[in-house]
């Protein structure tokens, strides 16, 4: 179960798509990092993810984890955003038959799952057709 602090810590990324960019090689990290995996530089500037991109690959989850039981079947994909960052997330508001590799999508803020009746309502980004 997510504790409030564990949930709260990720809000800058999940709600506001905050990333960082290596000042030396320009690689964008999401979530932000302290050392660049490409050039080991430690100086970064803050940036925000591009909100549009294309589907690189996708699947339809038919046997879900417990918190997602009420949503199954649902689509999850890896999307390459227009800034080159690749992101895993659900693809919603789209019939499964219309899903295909290369499809243009944009990020929207949505509820991801609820942790039981008294638990945290967990929000974040999902992809919808552009």
């Amino acid at each position: 179960m997510t504790t409030p602090s564990r949930y709260w810590r990720e809000i800058p990324q999940r709600y506001r798509l905050e990333a960082n960019k290596c000042k030396k090689c320009g690689f964008v990290f999401f979530p932000p990092r302290l050392i660049c995996s490409q050039c080991q530089n430690r100086k970064f500037e803050e940036t925000k993810l591009a909100e549009k991109g294309k589907v690189l690959t996708f699947t339809i989850i038919r046997v879900p984890p417990q918190q997602f039981v009420d949503q199954a079947p649902y689509a999850v994909g890896i999307v390459e955003l227009d800034d080159g960052v690749k992101l895993t997330g659900q693809i919603v508001d789209c019939d499964f038959e219309d899903l295909k590799i290369g499809k243009r999508v944009k990020i929207e803020f949505r509820k991801i799952f609820a942790e039981g009746e008294a638990g945290i309502l967990c929000y974040g980004y999902k992809f919808v057709p552009e």
Binding site: T59, P65, K86, L87, Q90
Partner: protein, 384 residues
């Protein structure tokens, strides 16, 4: 560094072992390995286990198992790299004997997975993925490999039937392995008509939930030469990492950690892919075997799908892959898998593999992988 040999192996029947606890499964298996090696004392031991904490609520199993095996106070360490934990245990045992710090080392792997519900097992396995940026969005392990499969099909034209053939081949081999969880044959039709788990992967593309353990005994080669059986030595060992989040990889269809670990093992053993006679790989899902044989250079990039179709990876083929039945048919108690792969290679090299024996293999390789490819351990073995 000293040359290191495998002088004993132990494995019991894998499956849903409801009547046996983690410690019982371990001790029964480890005793077989001790007997096979003809020793009753060891200098040290390693246990590969992905998540005894989440599966049975027990951490600190290294000491627990050393005690129940009657070996305390020997040093004992549990190691973890998700589903590659067993392979890593072997690497550490190998390094310890090679360095001269110990002579007789027990290397084992174990997972007791059926003490929890299906949901809890799915959760435990899911912790091998990035919990905050993959698991949070509802992806599962079959889902991650399904993402790889769809991308591979799109990029290289790999077909749904080719995926199915990997499972068919591994079950054919598994039908000849009495210790396998599912020792029976399946057909392409049964794979293609099994229930969808995560499109395009179906139930019979997936390795099962399994209780099981495996153990081997390592020692300096001079000691092995005094025994009355063919000497199998470890000549190459490679271990490498990659991002555990699939989305962070440059190419979703390429297993860089497997490529890197393979490169290191080949260099250490002074061998090339064409030198390998038999291969055990981490077929947690059918697509995994396809990607692994590409990353190890056994086939060209993008040609992994054709390997099972052309039957080059069958028992009688040019390079038999997963003669044991693989994770698919033999079962996949995650921490034990990497050690069981070693047992299959050793038995094949010693000519003791029964109905699934390959004709006179001399060099074998085992590839054990964690998560969606975030860690890989590769070993090369040679018969003297």
């Amino acid at each position: 560094m000293r040359d290191v040999a495998v002088i004993g192996v132990g494995m019991t029947k894998w499956g849903e072992l409801w009547e046996k606890s983690l410690r019982t499964i371990f001790v029964e298996t480890a005793l077989l390995a001790l007997d096979d090696a003809g020793v009753d004392r060891i200098d040290s031991m390693y246990v590969g286990s992905m998540s005894s904490g989440l599966f049975v609520g027990q951490e600190h199993i290294a000491s627990l198992l050393a005690d129940y095996l009657g070996q305390a106070p020997v040093p004992s360490a549990r190691v973890e790299t998700a589903c590659a934990s067993g392979g890593l245990a072997l690497r550490l045992g190998f390094m310890e004997v090679a360095s001269g710090m110990s002579d007789v080392v027990l290397v084992s792997g174990i997972e007791k997975m059926t003490d929890v519900s299906g949901y809890e097992a799915t959760y435990a396995l899911g912790t091998a993925a990035d919990q905050e940026y993959e698991g949070y969005h509802g992806i599962t392990f079959p889902g991650l490999y399904a993402l790889i499969a769809r991308a591979h099909m799109e990029k290289y034209g790999t077909t749904r039937e080719q995926l199915a053939l990997v499972a068919v081949k591994n079950h054919l081999n598994g039908s000849k392995n009495p210790l396998a969880q599912y020792p029976f044959k399946i057909t392409v039709d049964s794979v293609l008509n099994s229930v969808l788990v995560a499109d395009p992967l179906r139930l019979l593309d997936c390795s099962p939930i399994t209780d099981g353990a495996a153990a081997v005994i390592l020692c300096p080669i001079e000691m092995a030469r005094k025994m009355n059986k063919p000497v199998v030595k470890i000549t190459g060992s490679g271990h490498a990492t990659d991002s555990i989040a699939l989305s962070s990889r440059k190419d979703i269809t390429w297993l860089e950690a497997t490529y890197q670990a393979g490169k290191r093992a080949y260099a250490m053993a002074n061998k090339k892919p064409k030198d390998i006679d038999i291969l055990e790989v981490h077929d947690c899902f059918t697509i995994a075997e396809i990607c692994v044989i590409e990353a190890l250079g056994i086939v060209e990039k993008g040609k992994g799908g054709k390997a099972a179709e052309d039957e080059i990876t069958y028992l009688e083929g040019k390079i038999p892959v997963n003669t044991s039945g693989g994770l698919k048919a033999k079962g996949h108690p995650v921490g034990a898998t990497g050690v069981a792969q070693v047992i299959e290679i050793v038995k094949q090299l010693q000519g003791e593999a029964g109905k699934r024996q390959v004709k006179n293999p001399r060099i074998g390789m085992a590839q054990n992988m964690g998560g969606s490819g975030g860690s890989t351990v590769v070993h090369i073995f040679e018969r003297e």
